[in-house]
Symmetry: C2
Subunit: 454 residues, 2 copies
């Protein structure tokens, strides 16, 4: 599935071999970044590195602190705009004239995060995305339908161009085309694969009968290639969508700094990492101390992202804020041997219950495991601001509409026990009637702070 | 300026040499299209051609009837959808699997017209667009700002990719990003060149002070690269925009079947044709009889479009409906020798005033030549349906707000005389007060049918 073709099937040997090959690339990349006096070299020096040769091993590399996070990324962009008249950052390591492709995420502050690509960066991106297309079953020669947002998004023209490079003829209407045009053009062009966010995929199910007089299942789409939002990881969503379309569904991340991961479409056991030869995306550290965490099957930590070959404005020990669980071995779904990653939370969401670290999304996963007995809605109620929580952790779970009230107590105990088994934490679960917890079109806040009455 | 590097400066010799080189390419292209049994071969046969070898000369080629127009193009698309499950037309001459890029114009009927590209078609498109970028003064290494509609339009991702191939780093927010985001991102990325429709270029002038607290003239844009709508040909528009931005402005057509034309940015003397080695865009015929019109400086007729090397679904004797005037010689603005084309109307707009053919837009050009004495608004009033008109042709012209009423009569006579000199037609001009003629946000209908009172 990727080009570091490591023959072993032993997880420990596999990672050791990957790490050794990664380090060969890292030596070259570190020497390259050392040439950047505006951003990278000062950070090496601040970390006690006086020359690229000081970093003698993969462990030396992993002992370095994070070099960038969202805030320092944006500060770097503002400073390069002020100093050099471009917003691509002081950490731009290629000559500006060699940057030919741009993408950006607009973020919540209105200040975009820019991704710059040289031709080589773009060619490798195309190669990595091609691996994802192949795993999803997209074939060169297929007609594909691109309905991600086109305007600067990584899943936009960056993905669309990778489809062209792969030879899979994208009909690039984009999310901007709107639901009605998307449905009419799907009907007209008969794509094998649809590229869209989970929420757009769901909207098409609702709107198809009115817009084109037939259900999405009549459109002949065989592959749903999703990105940009969570959703595909939720069994209820996955079941509803695969049934409505009669298609397999894949969850994908990719485009940014040679990352490329995909779920395997036959269940949900994390995202297969298909770009290990170009991208080290699960360099796990303790989210508080930033100390490296031993990489092995089951390891959990905040992921630093380092691109191994990136030229333009690379991720190097970039603190993603994502808390990942690493899996190494055979995938329980598809049997493929390799590494998979599972995002279980955001570093800034972490709760610390007397030393036990728990992420709200991990509790959510446990609760949704009790569908259809629960509605899926839940809240974690804290007495004071996170991350420190005095036990027990209070969790309010909404019963399903059809769940008799006399079974709520047993349900609460079962959820507590499942949490104990999986998270090593026994919360205090209260089950409340269906409809009690407010819904929102926005991403629901799982955690509420309700100061204890004195 | 283009790759048929014909050394002569004699217009007749120049065209003769171009035509001879075109015919060399056409022989190959005709043999290629002959292989298409669904669309092209039946049309050759209907025209009396029993083998590609029957077409022995450029004149033989020009004597063929049109092979396609908008209606037959769409019918061809509908038929291929029914027969083969793709909407790219029975005239798709390349294997579908080799089509990797798509664009479409959505048209007024909701039925799009598709443009299909093989990799070779795309590479030649990029080469032709690069010539336009170079003429406009865009340089590899520049930051450019792409604000054309991205969703399938030819000026969308097709242009954006040509900018990347050229190395001119497009910030592809697209028209879909909206005026506010476009202005903020221009401010942040400081492009040398802005790619947008004339109406978007004008909107940015209005909105910049409110959105970013400064006029567009403070943004440092040096080049306005316009397409998709008329506008740049109007002196009043051109003057207003170049002054507001402090930039040069270029009118461009390109992207479709290897067409590529651009105005020279120093006045307005038609569009330089920069793709003569790939595209025969001024194959002029009588719009009624479809008989070929001799190609020479000043020739006017309906343009057939033939792409000389196109693989996917080529234009071949495609009746564009555009009435062109061909100029061959030195450009009065920039001095460049070559061919230029000027769209003076649409075939279906043509009026026939006792044998004199006149296009409403040609009359409009004459009237706008009287700015600032006129408002620019005018109507052509017919007694009955076009194209036949009994003389005199009645034209109502609105005076400028500042124009004293006692000068209206002299103005009317001057417009009549100018029309006589340029169009060989003396209309009956009536000048009416400023504000008399209704304005519309839509394209104004120049021709009104007002049956004579009996």
């Amino acid at each position: 599935m990727h080009h570091f073709n490591v023959p072993t099937r032993d997880p420990g040997e596999y990672l050791a071999e990957l790490n050794s090959r990664r380090f060969e690339k890292l030596k070259r990349q570190i020497a390259y970044l050392w040439g950047n006096e505006d951003y990278f070299r000062p950070r090496f020096i601040a970390a006690g590195v006086t020359s690229p040769d000081d970093i003698r091993s993969f462990d030396d590399f992993r002992a370095l602190p994070p070099f960038m996070d969202k805030a320092s990324h944006r500060a770097s962009q503002e400073e390069s705009l002020a100093r050099y008249g471009h917003p691509f950052g002081l950490h731009l390591t290629a000559p500006l004239k060699d940057v030919i492709h741009l993408a950006a995420t607009s973020g919540t502050t209105g200040q975009p995060t820019w991704y710059a690509f040289t031709r080589k960066d773009q060619a490798i991106t195309n190669e990595i995305l091609a691996r994802l297309f192949a795993v999803a079953g997209v074939r060169p020669g297929d007609t594909t339908f691109h309905a991600f947002g086109l305007s600067l998004w990584l899943a936009g023209i960056t993905f669309m161009q990778a489809l062209e490079a792969y030879g899979a003829r994208p009909v690039a209407v984009g999310a901007e085309g709107g639901i009605s045009k998307i449905l009419r053009y799907i009907e007209m062009t008969r794509p094998r694969a649809l590229f869209a966010t989970p929420s757009l995929v769901a909207q098409l199910i609702e709107r198809a009968p009115d817009e084109i007089g037939k259900p999405v299942g009549a459109l002949g789409i065989e592959i749903l290639f999703c990105s940009g939002e969570p959703g595909v990881g939720l069994p209820a969503f996955r079941d509803r969508v695969t049934e409505a379309y009669g298609a397999r569904i894949f969850d994908v991340t990719g485009g940014a700094w040679h990352n490329g991961t995909i779920s395997c479409g036959t269940g949900w056991h994390g995202m297969h990492h298909l770009a290990e030869d170009y991208c080290f995306r699960y360099d796990l550290v303790d989210p508080v101390t930033r100390a490296p965490i031993e990489l092995k099957d089951g390891a959990v930590g905040e992921a630093l992202h380092t691109a191994l070959d990136y030229e333009a404005a690379p991720a190097f020990r970039n603190a993603t804020g994502d808390i990942l669980r690493l899996h190494v071995g055979e995938c329980p779904s598809c049997g493929q041997f390799g590494s998979r990653i599972e995002i279980i939370g955001r570093a800034d969401d972490m709760l610390n219950v007397k030393g036990v670290k728990v992420y709200p999304s991990a509790l959510q996963d446990i609760v949704t495991g009790f569908l259809p007995h629960v509605s899926g809605q839940l809240r974690i109620r804290l007495d004071g601001p996170p991350p420190r929580v005095n036990p027990p952790l209070k969790v309010v779970v909404e019963a399903a509409e059809t769940m008799p009230a006399d079974e709520w107590d047993g349900l609460a105990r079962a959820i507590e026990q499942r949490s104990r088994d999986i998270l090593a934490l026994r919360p205090a679960v209260t089950v409340v009637p269906f409809g009690t917890l407010p819904r929102s079109n926005q991403k629901t806040k799982l955690v509420e702070i309700v100061p204890a009455q004195s």
